[in-house]
Amino acid sequence: MSKKNDEKVIVIQNGDDMPSMPASMGSMKINKTASWRSIRPVIIEEKCKRCMICWKFCPEPAIRPEDPPVIDYDYCKGCGICIEECPFDAIVSEKEGK
């Protein structure tokens, strides 16, 4: 996965800029969905057992399976599935914009 191409903004001004094949030209990664969020999930590192259930059930996916898992706040929409599904209550919800 090349990071550079992933967040490329594509400008189409005339017919020549259109793709030759019926294929998309860029990734939706340019669309940062952080502004949708009203609650902010925060991982408590001491409680986290690295089971990666939060990563498994993230619909974005905005959680990277690292040690400890990292939430990408550029894309997290704040659905709260990770908070609900964490078996160790290691993810807490904080009010956004405090």
Partner: protein, 306 residues
């Protein structure tokens, strides 16, 4: 995506590669995005999808961007299966046997509008995987009833006083009647089971059908954080049992020893809030009957094979 491990080794139960990218336009807690995320984890990048009008035609994002990470053919509402058939024949002509043709449709595009195309593809035995992500109404256009809407549910075209009466269409029985090599039900709350089924389907020639259960917080009127809980309860209450039909042999993948009462599943969702005690009991009886029928089917077909 890097997988750095400092101390202990992190064990992942799913493939690590993320084909689907974040930044898509799905609602918070959407079950359909999880559905495609798992599907593409199982199939990998060598996949060509055909998508009719459904939630995913919006979630994918506006041209020239795409969130799926694989080529997508947006086709007409009726033609998900026939478009995928065409793709699969083109791939065969080009000799690209390692590329999978995937038809990805919602319940409206499968149970109602796309049924004849699906039936045609299944009858011809075209080499496609057809996955229906079932959110039990036309969610993309504003929660209208479909033939996948269960008995008792509220939708905008079956408002509270006139809630849907009549059962959900049994699409699995329809597909089993086509004698396709493989069909299965799956649930987003059990991703390991789902990924196993998709991988199995990938290695089978012919039409493969997977009925995938994907809750929709917007249309089912439940908070987005309990999407997985609702999906899991659907299987734990036997509302949506997990089974597969492999060459006409039924196998139940998850046998619940003591099923929970359906009221636990119904009370989480606002679309069932109006139901009386009598209606809940009726739904419970239907669920029990369907479950007994499934157990008998498993038994009957197993004996026939042996």
């Amino acid at each position: 995506m890097s997988n750095k491990t400092k101390g202990q080794k992190i064990k992942l139960t799913l493939p690590i590669e993320e084909v689907m990218s974040p930044g898509h336009l799905a609602c918070q807690g959407c079950g359909a995005t999880l559905a495609l995320r798992y599907t593409l984890k199982a199939l990998g990048r060598k996949t060509i999808m055909s998508i009719p009008a459904c939630c995913w035609s919006v979630i994918d994002g506006p041209f020239p961007y795409s969130a799926a990470g694989v080529p997508i053919y947006h086709c007409a509402f009726e033609t998900a299966a026939s478009t995928a058939s065409g793709i699969s024949h083109a791939l065969a002509q080009l000799g690209q046997d390692n590329v999978t043709a995937l038809a990805w449709a919602g319940d409206g595009g499968t149970f109602d509008i796309g049924l004849q195309a699906l039936s045609g593809a299944a009858e011809r035995g075209d080499n496609v995987i057809y996955i229906v992500y079932d959110n039990e109404a036309y969610m993309n256009t504003g929660i209208q009833r479909s033939s996948a809407t269960p008995h008792g549910a509220w939708t905008t075209t079956t408002p509270v006083k006139h809630y849907k009466r009549g059962p959900k269409k049994n699409i699995m029985a329809i597909m089993a009647a086509h004698h396709v090599p493989y069909c299965a039900t799956a649930n987003i709350a059990y991703p390991e089971d789902f990924i196993r089924k998709v991988k199995k389907a990938k290695n089978i020639m012919g039409t493969k059908f997977i009925h995938l259960y994907a809750p929709c917080p917007t249309g089912w009127k439940h908070p987005p954080d309990i999407t997985i809980q609702v999906a899991r309860l659907a299987t734990l209450t036997n509302v949506f049992p997990l089974y597969e039909i492999d060459n006409d042999v039924y196998t139940i993948n998850k046998k619940i020893q003591k099923a929970k009462p359906v009221s636990e599943y119904l009370k989480l969702q606002g679309r069932f809030r109006h139901l009386s005690e009598k209606e809940v009991q009726f739904i419970q009886r239907t669920v029990d009957q369907n479950w007994k029928r499934l157990l008998k089917l498993e038994e009957a077909f197993r004996n026939e094979k042996n």
